[in-house]
Symmetry: C2
Subunit: 323 residues, 2 copies
């Protein structure tokens, strides 16, 4: 088995788990031309997952990402049989974030997959070095973390654990460009990878600001949305520093950093919502109040937005001269 063929759209990739993320990733790979072997570890997930992929392909056709849904759908097989993975170059696990469950899934995968194939996890919560211990060949295990909706966002984070063979991660990195991604490769397993670290730095500061009463949540949301939203899709944070001038930024850093939040605990304002089993739009308990109908509007609007922003971002490809 030659895993270098992973950048050939005709090769086979296995996806284990057909939840929201799993179906979205399957759709992404299908529209990139790949053959997908989907494994449903949960009873009835095969049926519901397949319907969901059909729906997503229809959305892709509507947004003119693809022309003919049937051609793509014909490259998908869904079953509960892990033996289907035998020709896959890569098996990507997308199940719930519980180590015990993932262990059961890896044992099944390992039983049928080619010893040279890659096993990966879409986890964003568990360190890769921990999961790596659960597979027979840790050198061929890594994190491949997607963003929702996987078929239209370009984010993809590839993370090595302590024992990952970096050259294997590089093969996935190359192939990811074929999946329409702008991947990043983290050679060292750091907690939270890159994006969660940056984003939780924002969450920490934001939660601390509203908990202390220094700012209202509505204003905090607006400020970040209209400031960062006006440039981030065009340039990253260090590129932005260059655009605005580093000298001034260093002066502000000097004055501002000692004032920034250093909390390491869950802010009370959030703890209270968690105690109420707040799941945001899923049960309408969150920092904002909204009805189930509001949430439907929101999901529809956001789907339209994702479609628009992906199209816009594609007009401004990474300018190699400038990074």
């Amino acid at each position: 088995m030659n895993i270098n063929l992973l950048n050939q759209p005709d090769s086979e990739i296995g996806i284990i788990g057909l939840g929201l993320m799993g179906s979205s990733i399957i759709t992404s790979l299908l529209i990139s031309g790949y053959h997908v072997k989907a494994i449903a570890p949960i009873p009835n997930e095969a049926e519901s997952g397949k319907s969901r992929v059909k729906e997503l392909l229809a959305i892709c056709a509507q947004s003119r990402l693809i022309e003919d849904e049937e051609t793509y759908l014909s490259k998908l097989t869904v079953s509960e049989n892990y033996a289907d993975l035998s020709n896959c170059l890569l098996a990507l696990e997308c199940v719930i974030e519980q180590i015990e469950i993932k262990k059961i899934v890896y044992d099944q995968i390992a039983q049928y997959i080619h010893p040279e194939a890659i096993i990966a996890s879409n986890t964003s919560a568990i360190p890769i070095s921990v999961l790596q211990k659960l597979v027979p060949n840790p050198a061929r295990f890594m994190g491949i973390h997607w963003a929702e909706p996987a078929y239209s966002t370009r984010f993809l984070e590839i993370t090595c654990g302590d024992k990952t063979d970096v050259t294997k991660a590089e093969v996935v990195y190359q192939a990811a460009h074929e999946w329409g991604k702008e991947p990043t490769l983290l050679r060292k397993d750091i907690r939270g990878f890159i994006t969660n670290r940056l984003m939780y730095a924002v969450y920490r500061e934001g939660l601390d600001l509203i908990e202390s009463g220094e700012a209202k949540k509505e204003d905090t949301d607006k400020a970040f949305k209209y400031d960062v939203g006006s440039w981030i899709t065009y340039m990253g944070i260090f590129k932005r520093m260059g655009y605005e001038g580093l000298k001034n930024k260093a002066v502000i850093i000097q004055n501002l950093l000692p004032n920034l939040s250093q909390i390491t605990h869950v802010p009370k304002i959030m703890e209270e919502i968690v105690n109420q089993k707040g799941r945001g739009i899923y049960n309408q308990i969150g920092l904002y109040k909204y009805t189930a109908d509001d949430c439907k509007v929101w999901e529809k609007e956001f789907a339209d937005f994702i479609d628009d922003i992906s199209r816009l971002a594609a007009k401004f490809p990474v300018n190699k001269r400038l990074e």
Copy 2:
């Protein structure tokens, strides 16, 4: 004088300083229909500033933000004479971030402006409570912080100092909607206001990550760009929490916050560039290497992007039901 008329596009606003920000703010107010009295505190700035506003109006016409440049230009007067401010409801200072210079400007403004008018600063670096001490009527002084380019971005941060009369800030907040903004109102003067606090939390984490060698700057830029860039123009950070579910986020906060950067100093990697007098694209010394020609391409591309993202954001106005 009735400052409540500030929300009437036919009223007069004074702008002091015709640098990059000043001319951009003037353009924003002109295309919203306001009469602008621009004061040039630096010799020759009147001429260069006026040409710059003309150029910006031409850009607005190209992007179909306005139809006829001349009508708008006719509502602008540029001089070195502070007496022109006598009928202005608001005088906004946009000069260099040096307290001594601002003091000279405020003395001039106060000499001619109506005692009931508002004086404000576009500062992002100096606390409002400090600047407030330099004017005769601190209750009518506040921060009004714009983002570049002021005529197309919707960000606007209004900040009260210790002595600001909040009802006056609320008048500006209301009027700002007429300027095409989605303003925020900070009732308390906190260091860095809102957006800089959130953004420098990201800069701290990002700089620490690349300084420690845990991630490459290119990857850090990419990860934030493609993750946050795919939703921030649609929703703020707390709304995002609701969308993704708060329960999971609390678990990640618990695990991740103790690992986040707590540095309060300027990272070495940045200090070195500052020592080289690095001003990013202005002198091509920054975290990335680029030529002067690269920077021209960049500025052009980014102008196009800003145009596109503003149009896209306008398709998704703040949904009052959801925030």
